[in-house]
Symmetry: C3
Subunit: 331 residues, 3 copies
Amino acid sequence: MAVYRPPEGRPVSPHLPFGERRDGAWYGKSIISVKQFSRDDLEYAFGVAKEMREMVARVGSFDLLKGKVLANLFYEASTRTASSFVAAMARLGGSTIQIHEVHYSSVSKGESLPDTIRTLECYADCIVLRHPQVGAAAQAVEVASKPILNAGDGIGEHPTQALLDLFTIESELGQIDGKTITMLGDLRFGRTVHSLSRLLAQYDVKLRYVAPDILQMPRDIVDELASLGVEQVPHDRLDDVLPETDVLYVTRVQKERFEDPADYENVRGAYVVDGETMLAAKEHMVVMHPLPRVGEIATEVDADPRAAYFRQMENGMYVRMALLAMVLGKA
Amino acid sequence: MAVYRPPEGRPVSPHLPFGERRDGAWYGKSIISVKQFSRDDLEYAFGVAKEMREMVARVGSFDLLKGKVLANLFYEASTRTASSFVAAMARLGGSTIQIHEVHYSSVSKGESLPDTIRTLECYADCIVLRHPQVGAAAQAVEVASKPILNAGDGIGEHPTQALLDLFTIESELGQIDGKTITMLGDLRFGRTVHSLSRLLAQYDVKLRYVAPDILQMPRDIVDELASLGVEQVPHDRLDDVLPETDVLYVTRVQKERFEDPADYENVRGAYVVDGETMLAAKEHMVVMHPLPRVGEIATEVDADPRAAYFRQMENGMYVRMALLAMVLGKA
Amino acid sequence: MAVYRPPEGRPVSPHLPFGERRDGAWYGKSIISVKQFSRDDLEYAFGVAKEMREMVARVGSFDLLKGKVLANLFYEASTRTASSFVAAMARLGGSTIQIHEVHYSSVSKGESLPDTIRTLECYADCIVLRHPQVGAAAQAVEVASKPILNAGDGIGEHPTQALLDLFTIESELGQIDGKTITMLGDLRFGRTVHSLSRLLAQYDVKLRYVAPDILQMPRDIVDELASLGVEQVPHDRLDDVLPETDVLYVTRVQKERFEDPADYENVRGAYVVDGETMLAAKEHMVVMHPLPRVGEIATEVDADPRAAYFRQMENGMYVRMALLAMVLGKA
């Protein structure tokens, strides 16, 4: 029996697959993981993001990506991530195809992710993908000839979130080196803090993990960062580390994570940031949160100039503008 | 125990809160209620809306709001209102972030309206809000630093609808003063007729309310308009007032409003506008309806030049173009 | 009793109704059925589509329809059709109002299709309509004064799909005359193959229908094409016709079409295209599929240069760009 081999393949993908890129040359690349980013890459991206912020402050929008089309493919709900990509394209003069109701789309008829990706790249110049399964973005890159931006693949990665978090720390404090970053809440299941801590490992920082035992930072991440020489200390009370904290990164503790609801009630108060917390904090501490929040930061904190979480949202748009411009060859 | 006070607040909102605006200066303002509009304001807005209509007739679209981004935040279904805002932005060269599937968005994870508003204003220049609860738009204005346009808050207000209704009367008849406006159908629960009648009170008009007793105009509105000197007469039959009517504003009588279905069957025929009705009406009477209709205007009336309800829809786009241009400082 | 006749009708529709058009003059016309297209029309449309493909290859997007607004009205799910119209408008500099969640829109409150159409044409320059009922697009044309593009009306027609299919055959093979086109799979319920075969009847082609008996091409279509002199032969095995096939048009055989699941299991293997199939096929055969596929073409075929189904998707955008430009008077 003859073994079938396609007589000649489709043209070689113009995008450089993950791991084969040249530094500084983002054109055509996909963004799948924070592991793609060297410190030089981060500085370059943040430089572009700052230019985006200045341009938006001066003129609101400009036509850098005029005529470019983004496909925003969301297999999961995410108002803020989806909206910030739409806004980023709009402020660069480009447009977006929104596909965020998967029960509505042909994927509910059973189409495979690769087929959907290959269809959408017929129409669009770039695809943003949010998917509930780990590895979905990497699978998309396998078949895609246009850049894929991973906007979250299950409990895997969400690199644009980690980049905007790091960009916010730098924007708020002027530099990242030398700072003590305290992560608070659910550090076990929180994709956000995993990616951020990996990025922070490229800087000279101290990390503090404040969480109940069952929600502490996973062993593999702690070991990975330890091997890179990062000082990390777990705590179960915020009071212990608040005075030395430069950045307080708050995440939500979900009731559903606890087997016994009573355990949840016992710990929840210890992980709420309110006016009391702010009284004991450094004068220039930065409070961050990926949002949405549900009570873990009291609204009385919102008016405090140290509350950076809405500026963090805004930075998300600038970082995404930068990434879109970079992978589409305009930065 | 120390009382926490945020050391310094966020920058004072650049938008002028409801009630503190200067006449003629709409830049940065939110539009929450018809009570914001003086007769001068109405004339100014309608003048801008007429310019928008002329520009669309001449060139289709133009770049007055090029680069501006609208967030269209709909917690409730409304094809026509949402679509007309999208079209208004598009015809002014701007773009829109659509968020109209609330079960899909982060609000279904329990995010508060203020947090959603503060997030969206990081991305957009202006927010249109449709929400099922009375007061939602005012609550949004409390936290927003960008203009909010109320696109309906429950049984509260829907000011852009009232403005387009009034603009349609003026467009169809040349003037509003001296006219007799008859409102027909469900005047008790109809947000539309409440807002419109309040706006009409600024003109020299006569109002006729044709409805079954249980669906008559609420006492508080009748009293409010009476104190302003508006002549109002309730009726239960359209025949009584049809000959003197200049504007017949039809609304839907919903079966569900009646405890006894038989009561509904008894009255429904009295509130249907058909060819017979038009035979008895003035030669230049205007028939309006906020749409969607479900039988209360027979389709045989559609071809009658006095049927203004689709022109009314079109005027909605021009009025919304005018309001967007005004609050974004371009009119 | 007086018979009511509206005193004067609304202005005569500026769009030329189906059946009354002049060849070559597409401006303002609706596209409802493949029956509207003469061979000259097809050649003209494909010429424009080729220009669109060249412009996209050269500059990505251009401003031919800048300022134009499309209403994309989808009463049924269809990611690829909806997305390709959005992309087509974006690449021509226009914008789109998306209305694809009917449970969300006012139509779920019971609004009639004609009312929805007349509302949307107040906002948009053109309406794309996907609807589950045969004849919906024709019903829309009755009331519309702007062009309607039928994007599928139940088991009725889907003319833009048929046009892109035909355009793909011409693009892949250089010409259509003289070719043998084999349709495979569900030919009974497949709207796509019905419309395509009708268009092919305008060319000098041979048609081969490979399907299980219960899913063979309907009698009325076979008779219609026979009367036009088209050579058609039904088969139940692909092997019989593969060697002479220039175009293999694959469609999905749905399990639900079979009363006895065992019947489905018996036939399904005979309708799967895989590497074995390609080994026995002509060197320049073209494999097409309207997508989404669910197993009827093995993914090992994707890299074969004869696999044209993703180029077919891309052609969909160019054909839709051409049709939009034509009906909006810009081609």
